[in-house]
Symmetry: C2
């Protein structure tokens, strides 16, 4: 007996439709139901009125302050985050170890020896070796950018202090960073390969304050490690003005920075368990470490606080997300994505369950657009996202989302990512400086970010499709390589 | 024979009018003639197109940089100014000695010991004594302003580090400075009188950068001298946030500042000799010294450069001012008007010939109004001044001009002064900080200032009246006392 025969015609048509719908599931996933969308919108609006994001930022930057990976504040930050996630009511809270070589800052002074003796404001780049303890003195050889250094001769550079003077340009999306930061990352080994005794470069930053910008740099195997430091923008201007007079310029540098052995910190993780697909996770987060000069408000206390607040607001609401929402507070992003790499390694057998991720690591400016990385069949979902993001002033950008820094290892392993682009107009005024403090953050902008992350988390947790990245279409990042 | 009888009637009437005019001279001085006003307007417009002011500022801040009175840069600044005034073609250039007790800055570090250990950005106040060489640690007692400290008890303060947290308010005319700066000047002896071991105060400044503001302070005879330092605004905010948690706050301070013996610097003076009243002088100028943290661009390289450029533009023009125009680049304003006092003392027998003065010591913002201190009979001259200043966007304010700091001793001795009020909206973002560098100065605004000082100098040099201050009417400053 075919049980269909016993069912009234009307009902049987309904069942037929259901079966047909289910058979189409792989290609055209069911969108989020209207009443669920309304619930998500309610939570979004609650988040927009909540101060929780700013409160968490204030707490982290006040009670821990700067928290450079491997510094005495590193374990305090881990403790703060663990305690806070538990207090906020996350379903699960745990840590995962992250081991890396640590580095310590020491004395850092610089001055013009001739022609016009005066002090300069510098800071060692992260990873720099020290000068001799009584400093070093050298003549300056000036290059307008890294390319000019690359094209120079050994005769020009040998025995001198290289100075690279190009200035980072200001854009809302921060695209001036890439071209400028190359000198920070690679200047030291390029200069050393030509016999330089040290390198000083204009801070990679858009401000005009006497607060130099630190940041990571790397040496190359087989090339002598030379001290590397950044000058504040006004100090770099000063050197350029002196050099424009055709004067021979001598500097004295004294840098006490040095490697400080292996250190183990922790990724701190909190999860809101999904109601129907608990093993599948949507990842949000920011990195818990900062540089040591400021208190790490925009880099990346904001990201940490936004993710924690968004998940908390969801947890405290009536809504139960279908997938789990995992907040990862990444360890040691600044010195080389150590937390991100450790996580990807530890979870390599579980990558299938990492559905999609977004990282907030570009300050606390308002989000103005979102980008996806959807297969063709998931594109109808974009319309629903547009609707829910629109009241936050967030428009759809494109289907070419790229990963935040800590999502790169998971992204490389195949996880999809989502972009929530923030206004970064003043981000590089503060980035990696002493000025990165919580007074620079606007609470209302934080709340808008938190609201956007509640929307992202809930929509991704509930969407029925697998959200896998398109396989054939090359992503923007792959195209650029 | 009466010679009038031989003169035709028409001519005799003319002569009669002339004699009557001359007899009225004391009360109604002849205004500046129309063709002369036109010449002055031509020079004003030339000045507005000249880069000389900015060029001088750039030269001083680049080639000398910071030039704290008594520091190794002090003689370099004197040399720079003397050489420059001669090269610019001043008729006379000379120096006059100024002796004062000097002070040296040393190490200056601070940190929170508990409850949340972290470094703070501070700078010693000018004149501060040192802590013990290994620093001092103390519990913080917090006062919202100097008055609250004054009202406190010895029990509250004894053995503690006083922290004063009120923030300077921002106004175009800088009137937030007075109420805030009292804590800087008097906080140390008020705190010490109640047994405090040190004082830290929020920087007297309107910015949000991690660049503390230094500035002069004084001790009182018979009260123990305790170390005094300013915290950057974000650091003061941090302490306030911690105190708001009801936590006991302990700081460590290490300050190496100390008195450094008597030093002799120089007022540097350049003069454009007057054509018909060479002994009578109109004074313009700024102070040559700066604090040591920045390169003294807005305080007071701008004033120095504006006065030098204005007089130079006059000297290089065809016009010959009737009175002499004297540019005084005052020594050591910052530590107590030492140059101003020495000048007034050295010239006390010649004060009659000091007709009127104006000092530029409020940055390089545009001038928006002028004020006079004229007797009733000189008030018609205000209309001529209005006309010549108007195209520069400078309006008449009132007849209650007050002296710039270095003119106070001359003013007190009876000299008249003139006010050229600058827009100081951002002046206290930079004042006495490392951020006071020449990139903050807008060349076009400098040129407007230079043009205004050419107008002031020429109009005062040519005006026939004696320009003496009103004797009966109390000045605004006297009223306030």
């Amino acid at each position: 007996m075919n049980y269909l025969t016993k069912i009234p015609r009307q009902l049987s048509l309904g069942l037929l439709f259901l079966i047909l719908s289910m058979s189409a599931y792989g290609k055209k996933p069911v969108l989020i139901a209207e009443d669920r969308l309304s619930e998500i919108e309610t939570i979004r609006d609650l988040a927009l009125k909540s101060d929780l994001g700013y409160e968490l930022l204030e707490s982290l930057t006040t009670e821990v302050g700067a928290r450079m990976a491997g510094s005495p504040q590193d374990p305090l930050a881990v403790k703060w985050a663990t305690k806070k996630l538990k207090a906020l009511g996350f379903d699960k809270v745990w840590t995962e170890p992250v081991t890396f070589p640590s580095w310590k800052r020491g004395v850092e002074t610089a001055s013009i020896v001739s022609p016009y003796p005066q002090p300069l404001y510098i800071t060692a780049l992260g990873g720099s070796v020290s000068t001799p303890s009584d400093g070093l003195i050298g003549q300056v050889v000036h290059f307008t950018d890294l390319d000019a250094l690359k094209k120079s001769s050994i005769q020009q550079v040998r025995g001198k202090i290289v100075f690279i003077s190009n200035r980072m340009q200001r854009f809302r999306n921060g695209r001036g960073y890439g071209p400028a930061v190359a000198a920070r990352g690679n200047g030291a080994h390029e200069a050393s390969a030509k016999g330089a005794i040290a390198i000083v470069l204009r801070s990679v930053g858009t401000d005009n304050h006497r607060v130099p910008h630190t940041g990571g740099m790397r040496y190359k195997e087989g090339i002598k490690r030379i001290p590397a430091a950044a000058l504040s923008n006004p100090d770099a201007d000063q050197l350029v003005r002196i050099l424009a007079r055709g004067k021979s310029l001598k500097l004295k540098l004294n840098i006490g920075a040095h490697p400080a052995g292996e250190y183990t910190s922790y990724n701190v993780i909190g999860e809101i368990t999904g109601s129907s697909k608990p093993k599948e996770v949507v990842i949000i987060g920011g990195h818990l470490d900062s540089w040591d000069l400021g208190t790490g408000a925009v880099d990346d206390g904001a990201g940490v606080a936004i993710a924690m607040a968004a998940a908390t607001i969801i947890k405290k609401s009536k809504i139960k997300p279908k997938r789990s929402i995992r907040v990862i507070l990444w360890a040691n992003e600044e010195q080389g994505l150590f937390g991100a790499k450790a996580y990807a390694k530890a979870h390599h057998q579980d990558l299938e369950n990492h559905i999609i991720g977004a990282e907030s690591d570009f300050g606390a400016g308002r989000i103005y657009e979102f980008s996806s990385l959807f297969k063709e069949e998931d594109k109808p979902f974009i319309e629903q996202l547009k609707r829910v993001f629109r009241p936050l002033g967030i428009k759809y950008a494109n289907n070419e989302a790229t990963p935040g820094p800590d999502l790169i290892p998971l992204f490389t392993s195949g996880m999809s990512v989502f972009g929530l682009a923030q206004d970064g107009w003043d981000y590089f005024d503060l980035h990696h400086t002493a000025d990165d403090t919580c007074d620079k953050v606007e609470p209302a902008a934080m709340a808008q970010n938190v609201a956007a992350y509640t929307v992202f988390s809930l929509m991704m947790a509930d969407y029925a499709g697998d959200l896998k990245r398109p396989t054939k279409q090359k992503t923007k990042q792959q195209k650029e390589k």
